[in-house]
Symmetry: none
Subunit: 82 residues, 3 copies
């Protein structure tokens, strides 16, 4: 009976790890979609108005940094939860 309990505890622990692993992947999908959209639109915008390039680049970095910050927090929290 003790062995059964031990091994069932093992089952549950590893379902949790499955979720954490998939969650880390989803985090980067979110970050990639978000920063990718901003960066892609920024270079398109620079090509349309090259003289506004400095301002566009500043806006791109601000928005991308917001996503980057949340992403790193989420990754650290995933590690803490596991």
């Amino acid at each position: 009976m003790f062995e059964l309990a031990t091994l069932l505890a093992q089952i549950t622990t590893d379902y949790g790890r499955m979720g954490i692993g998939l969650g880390i992947g989803l985090i980067i999908i979110g970050a990639g979609l978000g920063i990718g959209r901003i960066g892609g639109s920024a270079v398109d915008a620079m090509a349309r108005q090259p003289e506004a390039g400095g301002r566009i680049q500043t806006a791109m970095i601000i928005a991308a940094a917001l996503i980057e910050g949340a992403t790193v927090i989420a990754l650290v929290f995933s590690l803490l939860v596991s």
Copy 2:
């Protein structure tokens, strides 16, 4: 019977952890889609009307900060729930 209860409690705890992990990933997918959409549209708007760039950037930061705030709260709550 006590052992069975203990191990079943363990099962549920770890299904929970699976959900927390997936939830953290979904949080960042939401934040990435949202801030990405705002940032992408903002740089497009700056290219179309460069003289309105300052106002556009302010609006972008306000909207993105609202998503960022909710995201950080959600991440902290995910950690508290686990």
Copy 3:
């Protein structure tokens, strides 16, 4: 009975590993979508405004590096979780 326990413990261990493995794949899907979007838009933008090529390349590298940084952190954390 001991053999059954060993084998079931192995099953559970591998559910966790399955999640980590799929998660690593999702990480690269996210990074590929993001950096791919930025790089693709950057070369399109350069073709439209070749004289703005230097500025566009700078913006592309900044945005792609943000995704790359988060991706490497996520890959290392996946290894730590497993």
